[in-house]
Amino acid sequence: MNAREEQMLRKAVSDATLACIHEAEVFLPPDVKAAIAAAYDSEADPVARGELANIRTNISEAERLNLPLCQDTGIAVIYMTVPHCYPVHEADLREAVYDGVRRATLSVPLRPNAVDPVSRQNSGDNTGVAIPPIHIREGSDLTITVLPKGAGSENVSRIGMLLPSQGNEIPAFIVETVLLAGGRPCPPVVVGVGIGGTFDHAAALAKEALLLPIDVMDTYEMEICTAINNLGIGPMGLGGSTTALAVKVKKAHCHTASLPVAVNIQCWACRRATRKVSL
């Protein structure tokens, strides 16, 4: 790859990042919209129906006005797949993604959310030290996925280092996390769960689980989701039968002496978008 081709590729990665962020901020994926519509149809509580009606109107207003669904445009969590032996250095790909995030901040526009953790000084462009986080793994194509993560739901997420003997207490830990969160994460939520791995990997798995389609659940996920909805927290914590739209679980092997369980809560605006990058 010569210098000109490399420059074109960097531009293509930056463009794809910008396009992903725009799509994710303005248009909810079809499976999420369908889950919210189904919740509205099955909800009997009048206050809950009102909340879900507001959410549905908001979704169509965002599309019509080409504006972000939520003013918390989040931190852009980035997932990339890169083909084997790709001729561009990882650091250059990262820089191209950062460029796309800076451009999106101005053009979508995004609220500048990235601050120094202690001084709280805002960088102004949604980038900073290790922000946005970029997860790179091997894949057949060069792709970019953006998951804009808001703080309201991130702040009520939890990780528990359970004992290996507590395997049957995993559902209770997940349901309790949603109970303690109450109305704060803007329910109805999507619950991303990471089981196993190491302390850090469990959290990464929980977030990756939020990328899975929410219109399918296995029996384990369904049982936990039902237990959550039976709590009656409802949309925005104002009561009702829709507290979670879905529970999604990802697993990894872990140390024989540990059982990490991470629960990453996502508000109803389960935003995500993916683009393939081609020259």
């Binding site: 206050v47 009102g50 965002a62 003013q71 803007c186 914590g237 109803w268």
Partner: protein, 192 residues
């Protein structure tokens, strides 16, 4: 479908708010029109230290950090009100009649609302819906930055639910208590 398309009746209220709000009860739906002032953590701290830069009598405070571009509201959904729990008393003492946000507020705030003010819940994340009911008319403390400044906003028929009323009714704590009971019952079933 229209904004706030619910089966319930809406009561229309307008700022400056007066004693009419005392009759509202937790769970009631309202449509709010008039002037609201956005304020988050930093704005509360500044107002406590200096003075409230607008007339607080009958005013409505909106817990919100909007996205503003070219003097236009792009997105303006509510933020988590609980962060302002310990920063709210002086506003109510000064005559503020209404707090708007998401997630509810503490029992302490609930107590200090009694007989004078209410808490209205706006659907979290509904930034585009909010923006289509709002017009920007001014700003205080612009040096605090976009999210933390006080933005003066004219709203028309903003669809809200009374979360905490002026007689101690609190929809959030009612729902929360019931959820805890149901959780405990579910855990007992699990163990059995």
């Amino acid at each position: 479908m229209q904004a706030g398309d619910t089966e319930g009746e809406f009561m229309k209220i307008k700022t400056p708010l007066g004693d009419e709000i005392l009759a509202l009860r937790a769970g009631d739906s309202v449509l709010l029109s008039g002037t609201i002032y956005t304020a988050r953590d930093e704005a509360h701290l500044r107002m406590m230290k200096e003075k409230i830069p607008f007339d607080p009598k009958g005013a409505a405070i909106y817990h919100c950090g909007p996205v503003i571009q070219d003097d236009r509201i792009i997105a303006a959904g509510p933020t988590t009100s609980a962060r302002m729990n310990s920063l709210t008393g002086f506003l109510l003492d000064a005559g503020v009649r209404c707090l708007i946000g998401k997630g509810g507020m503490s029992g302490e705030v609930s107590k200090s609302l009694k007989g004078r003010a209410i808490y209205l819940a706006f659907t979290g994340g509904c930034a585009a819906l909010a923006a289509s009911h709002m017009k920007l008319t001014g700003v205080f403390y612009p040096d605090l930055g976009m999210a933390e400044a006080i933005w003066v906003i004219e709203v028309t028929d903003l669809p809200l639910v009374v979360g905490i009323d002026a007689v101690g009714g609190n929809l959030f704590s009612r729902v929360d208590e019931r959820a805890r009971e149901r959780y405990d019952a579910w855990i007992r079933d699990q163990v059995r």
